[in-house]
């Protein structure tokens, strides 16, 4: 589906944690992001959505600034926005005792 360029990783997380089949998983993510399911595989549409919500992107100077959440930063936002468990975010919160996510 295009992974980090689109919403592929987000739909994957919903499949993996909620065991939803693809149409339902796409509908779930689209609803959480306020877009249509068709937008989920469009890198132009999704790059803006991901930036606005801090959901991560390809980490190059052309695609991300120092103010854009990446990697573990983005995953904290992903867990909150999608309301899905992300193990690394849970560990990060526990080990930093920050209550993040």
């Amino acid at each position: 589906m295009g992974g980090l360029r689109t919403a592929g990783d987000l739909v994957a997380r919903v499949q993996m944690t909620r065991r939803l089949r693809l149409p339902e998983a796409k509908a779930y993510v689209a609803d959480k992001l306020g877009v249509s399911p068709a937008d989920l595989s469009d890198p132009v549409a999704m790059s803006e959505v991901r930036r606005e919500r801090g959901l991560g992107t390809i980490p190059t100077e052309d695609t991300a600034t120092v103010n854009d959440a990446l990697a573990i930063e983005a995953k904290v936002n992903i867990a909150r926005v999608l309301d899905v468990p992300v193990r690394s975010v849970e560990r990060f919160a526990a080990l930093t005792r920050s209550g993040g996510g």
Partner: protein
């Protein structure tokens, strides 16, 4: 009539007319229906396969909007930098939807003594990547047999007619394998992995599949929301033991739909059927057969189905460098016909 370039199951290029390709697809459907005792594909599905395989384009793809999720059984060659940069490359350049950290010796048994090193890589990876990072390995029940393991080798006992001893050996291996799989899974959960993948389940037959199911059941009980993925080794569970059951269902002889039901019952998140490739037949024949055999599985599924599509399974040629024209046709055809949730 125009000859269209197409591929054999071993990856070699051949040229066939549209009529020959169509006949081959019909033959593949018939072979799959007969072997697995399932319904054949419908006329519209067969026509769609013919259109895909009668194209001369270098690449084939699903329609915009029909893209599916890509999960993997091990990502990267581990020969171009560190294992972490391998995964980063797949995230940022290949743009796959998930990645999977793996050990070169891709079985749960050899991972057990080096688990802390694998955990260290996983925790670092999780700080650097955004997409899901799972950890994968094979149950690989044969590893538990002499001389590599503690259990008598049933492959040697069976030809000698020592059936009871062979069965007892497999039963012993199952219990040991389950402990190892659960131990590694727990370690990976603690390290922050997004999921665990049990790859080539059933490779050593029904005992191998049973070990996977019992391990999944224990992992699910401990971690209700964690991703547990299973990928089968072949289309049919071989009865190396013959009498093993899971939840009252005999495992020997199960085809994908029945495999999927048991895996779902055990608690799996994603199920990956594997339909074997016949290298002496065309890719078109193999994909037609694949779709026919797998369709009851996808039709009945209540969990995501990620068909195994790779060397020798899912219609993809059995070659170390499978041609993209064949891989794209096989992938697209299977997604279109089976309404897959992923590959």
């Amino acid at each position: 009539m125009e000859a269209i370039p197409t591929r054999m199951g071993d990856g070699s290029l051949v040229r066939m007319t549209r009529a020959e390709i169509e006949a081959d697809i019909h033959a593949g459907v018939e072979a799959g229906a007969k072997r697995a005792k399932v319904e054949p594909l419908g006329d519209d599905e067969i026509d769609h396969l013919v259109d895909i395989f009668a194209s001369k384009a270098r690449f084939s793809a699903v329609d915009i909007g029909d893209e599916v999720i890509l999960t993997s059984d091990g990502v990267g060659s581990q020969d171009t930098g560190s294992r972490i940069t391998d995964l980063q490359n797949y995230e940022q350049t290949v743009c796959t939807d998930t990645v999977e950290l793996y050990h070169h010796d891709y079985s749960f048994k050899p991972i057990k003594p080096v688990l802390p090193y694998e955990q260290a890589i996983m925790r670092q990876t999780q700080l650097l990547l955004t997409i899901p990072v799972a950890y994968g390995a094979m149950p690989d029940l044969g590893r538990y047999t002499v001389p590599d393991g503690p259990v008598p080798n049933w492959s040697q006992l069976l030809p000698l007619g020592r059936i009871d001893e062979a069965r007892a050996a497999q039963e012993e291996a199952v219990e040991t394998a389950v402990e190892d799989i659960v131990y590694v899974a727990e370690g990976m959960y603690e390290a922050g992995a997004d999921g665990i993948n049990l790859d080539t389940a059933g490779a050593a037959g029904d005992a191998d599949f049973l070990a996977a199911l019992k391990a999944i059941e224990r992992i699910r009980a401990r971690y209700p929301d964690w991703s547990i993925q299973i990928g089968m080794a072949s289309e049919f569970v071989l009865g190396m033991h013959g009498e093993l059951e899971y939840d009252g269902v005999r495992l020997a002889g199960l085809w994908p739909a029945a495999q999927m039901r048991l895996a779902a019952r055990a608690g799996v998140s994603i199920f990956g059927p594997a339909i074997n490739v016949n290298t002496g037949k065309t890719v078109a024949w193999n994909v037609a057969r694949t779709c026919t055999v797998a369709k009851p599985c996808t039709d009945a599924a209540t969990i995501p189905i990620h068909l195994n599509g790779g060397m020798g399974v899912g219609g993809v040629p059995m070659h170390a460098l499978p041609p993209v024209d064949a891989v794209s046709r096989a992938s697209r055809a299977c997604v279109d016909i089976l309404r897959l949730d992923g590959l």
